[in-house]
């Protein structure tokens, strides 16, 4: 059944969109991520303008992160003071990302910047994830015990001033890297249409030594708030959020996430990380092919006013 998407200005099969929502939701539930880095490219690949895809996916991620934030809240797995401090950086970063988005769009460079950012970010992160997961799997095969990398050793980050104690996570760190991480995630997220969970969780673990008990719950709160504010900001400045498209995606997404979460519980952590790494790398490579191989259609059309 074809429906007409009012803002994307395109007739699309409603079942295809719902299936995409389900599939991405399944993956996001399985790995505990928002899934924006998959949804935005998928929408671009089915012909929705990158600008509309980025703006709309932010509301889709807001819905899926809302659902998981609530369940982490019930389990008391959120460090609220850490989340609030991340949010200060996050909202400033989001505003910066939306500002750059608008600027690039008027300079007609947005599509290129989105594609390049996806290639660079996803290939790098995917590569790192795969090599880390492969090493972990090798270690378990060789029978060595898995060394949990949460030693008390201090990095240069711990030498920074303005130290704050976060009781729930039992960490004592400078406010600077916390604000910085929030800023980066908000900025990248609103520019690229991703929640940034797959970046944020490793950053919180490696740079701030946030324990596993609170890391995912806290990161979900940041994702929720940055993506909700990105939705409002994109709607207010660029008028490109397609509410109908978002609704179909988010309904599919929250249902898929439930099944994904169940599937994920039966898998080993290293295997999950390896799979996620392959997925991230795959999307990055797909974007690389798109801009490196001569396209069959060289011409494209858009209205002078929008798109």
């Amino acid at each position: 059944m074809q429906i007409y998407l009012p803002i994307a200005d395109l007739p699309v099969n409603i079942f295809l969109l719902f299936a995409m929502g389900l599939a991405v939701g399944f993956i996001s539930g399985m790995f505990g991520i928002g899934g924006g880095f998959l949804m935005t490219p998928l929408l671009i690949f089915i012909g929705i303008l990158p600008a509309v895809a980025v703006a709309t996916v932010s509301s889709h991620i807001a819905a899926s992160s809302a659902s998981s934030a609530i369940s982490y809240w019930r389990r008391n797995a959120i460090d609220i003071s850490l989340a609030l401090m991340l949010l200060i950086g996050g909202i400033v970063g989001t505003a910066g990302g939306v500002w750059l988005f608008t600027l690039l769009r008027s300079a007609d460079l947005l599509d290129l910047v989105i594609a390049l950012s996806y290639v660079v970010l996803l290939v790098a992160v995917g590569g790192l994830m795969i090599s880390e997961a492969v090493r972990a799997i090798m270690r378990t095969y060789q029978g060595h015990p898995v060394v949990l990398r949460r030693p008390g050793s201090h990095t240069w980050l711990h030498g920074l001033p303005f130290k704050v104690r976060f009781k729930r996570s039992k960490i004592y760190v400078s406010a600077i890297p916390v604000l910085g991480i929030g800023l980066i995630i908000g900025f990248i997220g609103s520019l690229m249409g991703i929640g940034g969970g797959f970046l944020l969780v490793p950053m919180l673990i490696y740079f701030l030594r946030v324990p596993t008990a609170t890391v995912i719950g806290t990161s979900t709160v940041l994702t929720l708030v940055t993506m909700a504010s990105a939705t409002v900001m994109h709607a207010a400045t660029n008028h490109l959020v397609d509410a109908l498209l978002a609704l179909i995606l988010m309904v599919g997404g929250v249902i898929g996430a439930q099944f994904g979460a169940r599937a994920g519980q039966n898998m080993k952590a290293e295997r999950l990380r390896l799979l996620l790494g392959l997925l991230v790398l795959g999307v990055g490579v797909r974007f690389a092919i798109d801009i490196l191989v001569q396209p069959t259609e060289l011409f494209s059309l858009r209205f002078a006013g929008g798109g």
Partner: protein, 255 residues
């Protein structure tokens, strides 16, 4: 003497044929198309009759030909062309077409070049000539597709530009029908319909009509809200997202 007079009269009518010897009368099946979110396109039928005054010989040597041009609302369209830049394929050049019709259908009963010479069609602004040309066409090597050709081709792919040399059917020698197909993506606005009657390589009569495409329902509401009340619309979309998330967490609660 009387026979000579008739002969002269006939010759006069023949040479002065564009002087409205025929009249064109048209009627459209509907002048308004309502687009809702389930709209999958529609087809309108244009009926036309050719009325002759008594003095016009019938049939004309070449018979009658009809060209129907339907042109939708106009807007500036930008055609972008990808090229390799530092190993990356990206939009490098672009050309703007001011006041290009967003929809264009050229329907006729036979190929246009068999109806009238190309030069005449261009002068009368008939067929794909409706699409404006560009003043600056930089960087295009000869033999390559021009931006204008690309514009027409891309619009044709989406069925928003149509050229159908069998789109007009003669039911009787003086009665014809044309079917105007409007795809799901048809833009909102007023569409001008220009019907021209040709005979012996000349345009001998003309009639015009119009139709309007109007969006109704949720769809139009969303478009207006997003454009005119961005912040409220954004807040509403966010609220919808939060409610969906909350609803899911209630429905699928496991603990």
């Amino acid at each position: 003497m009387k026979r000579i007079a008739i002969l002269i009269l006939t010759l006069l009518t023949l040479t002065a044929s564009p002087a409205a010897a025929e009249r064109l009368i048209t009627s459209l099946s509907s002048h308004q198309v309502l687009v809702s979110s389930s709209f999958t396109g529609t087809e309108l039928v244009l009926f036309g009759a050719i009325e002759r005054d008594g003095a016009t010989p019938f049939p004309r040597k070449s018979g009658y030909n009809i060209i129907v041009t339907v042109s939708g609302p106009r807007e500036t369209l930008v055609v972008r062309r990808k090229d390799r830049l530092a190993g990356i394929w990206t939009n490098v050049e672009s050309n703007s077409f001011l006041d290009a019709p967003l929809y264009l259908a050229v329907l006729s009963n036979k190929p246009l070049d068999e109806i009238a010479p190309a030069e005449m069609l261009r002068r009368l602004d008939i067929g794909m000539n409706v699409v404006p040309g560009v003043h600056v066409a930089a960087g295009i090597e000869s033999g390559e597709e021009t931006f204008r050709d690309a514009l027409i081709r891309l619009r044709k792919q989406r069925k928003l530009y149509v050229e159908d040399p069998a789109g007009v059917t003669f039911i009787t020698p003086t009665l014809f029908r044309a079917s105007i197909r409007l795809p799901a993506e048809s833009p909102v606005g007023v569409y001008d319909i220009d019907v021209r009657l040709f005979a012996e390589n000349a345009n001998i009569a003309r009639a015009s009509s119009a139709l309007e495409v109007v969006k109704v329902g949720v769809e139009q509401f969303i478009v207006t809200a997003a454009r005119d009340h961005g912040v409220v619309y954004g807040l509403f979309t966010t609220l919808m997202a939060l409610l969906t998330g909350w609803f899911a967490s209630v429905v699928f609660r496991r603990d």
